[in-house]
Point group: C2
Chain length 348, copies 2
């Protein structure tokens, strides 16, 4: 893929930043006392490229896909759970559905490559590349054509989303294995550090998972051309490529993207290595309890919005962070100023 | 005050706990993957004393009061800002008003002892004890009668609140001084550690603030009878006493209370020292950026819900934490089970 054409422009604009900060400082509160909420409002407006920005519509996309690596029997849940959980999401019974409804956030599931066939229904986008990736212990998970198609699917959903804030999340039995392999390959970190329990691999199962990922990373290292894009194709997944595409689509539309946990962050890693400027369009929702996620965030100098020991995925962390970012923008837009409220300013 | 009569019963109930945990474990997610949200749901239900608990109505009370200690000129904002900010809250322009509206949380201000007279209006409870406390550098801030009256005002508001989750916050120029003095007196910590910038005391002003609090704490130490109640009366404030009362009123009604930042936590400290069991009814909203708050939480073994460098008060941190606790209960009540959604459970 020629990803040069996806270049993203920086959000740095000193005079815009001054205007936004001035507005924040005139609100009826001690300067800086909303802490990170002020940082969120500033970053949000910078991404939008204007002082007058609002969050009225938020949308979370849950990208779903199956993984050939599950043939290695390294997951406690069977592969068909991906399909079942997509139905659960569409029917409103999954955590992501419940939380989005409560928060007034639109949500949709994207079938990027689930085994099994869905019929068209509201809240479900069918963008199936194939019924699951190939087993990346033995061959690349995707062909170049497949990963490009998956990326574009996510990209287009972002540019057509008509919302002010995007959130991404995922569902896919086997996808923590894929994410661990991505971290290990791109960042050259031993899988002993990047492989965690996922949906619940413990004891011998966890040891086996580590060994499989170690072998797979070794296997791909030889032929890998060193680019994040090639890493994604080799050990990633359809839903991870879709999320990377959505990050680009959001950034290029000036819509910030809230990145969920361990797996979504692997998509963000690919995106940030393809285009470093993209980082300024991202909010990392939370430090997941999944092994290596916190270390990854620290390594990249990223401070997530929340830290609640969650490791569910689906976009559940994104929802909670989006509620907080929305509150930051609510304060930014609706609070009175010292002047408008007739409140005395500092004695200075 | 005979606070023995306010005894609170423990929320420990092993069989109830088992039932709640069972329910959490049957929801369509890997066991424990909602992390602290599961802890919040469990704690919430234990406080309510039943498996079937819901959060449908939430309410935040912002307790406002003035402080005689401002005579010492240790605050950058003039004392009349308390009055002005109460009006700003009632008119919907303050951060707490904006955030509560967005979150669908009821909010009300309580005039516990603001200088100046308000007329009755919706969203304002007038429980004025006196127009500001006495200067606690020279004499106790409150009489026994006053602190008891303030405590009861908060207590009664809680028991009459008809809601499922309470949040507390405060507004009062000078009240970080009062809170610092409370921490220092009760926990025997030097004011150099407990005194911070409050609304913005910096440089010489901050040094003066520290010295004044140090002198005041020294002064009261001699006559202090060693009880948290007497400490509250000596160096506390009407709004702090009101919050302590609300904590007791909530706990005795089985309604958990979400405690905001530095000043609200000083009220919680008093309440917890009066009745250790009360801790299980409290959620600490966030680690404030105000000096000593994080150290206090750590010392008490409390992990707050959020950490966003906020130090505004008013209950703003409580609102954000309440949104998260509400989401935890939403998942608990509305998520499908493995059985109801036809999702395969672990292969075990």
């Amino acid at each position: 893929m020629d990803y040069k054409k996806w270049a993203v422009s920086a959000v740095r604009d000193a005079s815009l930043e001054r205007e936004i900060v001035n507005r924040l400082n005139n609100l009826t509160k001690p300067v800086g006392s909303l802490g990170r909420l002020e940082e969120f409002a500033l970053r949000y407006c910078l991404c939008r490229g204007r002082v007058e920005a609002e969050i009225s519509r938020m949308k979370v996309f849950t990208f779903a896909g199956d993984h050939g690596i599950t043939e290695e029997k390294i997951t406690p849940y069977p592969s068909e759970v991906t399909y079942q959980m997509v139905l659960n999401m569409v029917n409103g019974g999954a955590a992501i559905s419940v939380m989005c409804k409560k928060a007034g956030i639109d949500c949709a599931v994207v079938d990027m490559g689930v085994k099994g066939t869905f019929h068209e229904q509201p809240g479900l986008f069918i963008r199936k590349i194939a019924p699951g990736t190939k087993n990346f212990l033995k061959e690349p998970a995707m062909t170049e054509k497949e990963s490009t198609k998956a990326f574009h699917a996510g990209y287009d959903l972002a540019t057509e989303s008509e919302c002010d804030l995007l959130g991404i999340g995922e569902m896919g039995i086997g996808n923590t294995s894929s994410a661990s392999a991505l971290y290990s390959l791109i960042l050259d970190v031993d899988p002993a550090e990047t492989v965690g329990i996922g949906t619940g691999s413990k004891g011998l199962l966890l040891e086996k998972k580590k060994q499989v990922i170690r072998d797979a990373v070794q296997f791909h290292k030889k032929a890998w051309n060193g680019s994040p894009w090639d890493a994604l194709r080799r050990v990633g997944g359809f839903e991870i490529a879709g999320m990377a595409g959505m990050i680009f689509g959001g950034a290029r539309s000036g819509i910030p993207v809230v990145v969920d946990g361990f797996v979504a962050s692997a998509a963000a890693l690919v995106a940030m290595r393809l285009e470093p400027e993209i980082k300024s369009y991202l909010f990392f929702a939370h430090a997941s309890a999944e092994q290596y996620h916190e270390a990854f965030l620290k390594r990249e100098g990223i401070r997530p919005v929340l830290s609640l020991d969650m490791r569910l995925g689906e976009g559940t962390g994104s929802v909670l962070a989006m509620q907080i970012i929305a509150q930051a923008m609510e304060c930014y837009n609706r609070m009175a100023t010292f002047q408008s409220a007739g409140v005395s300013d500092k004695k200075e």
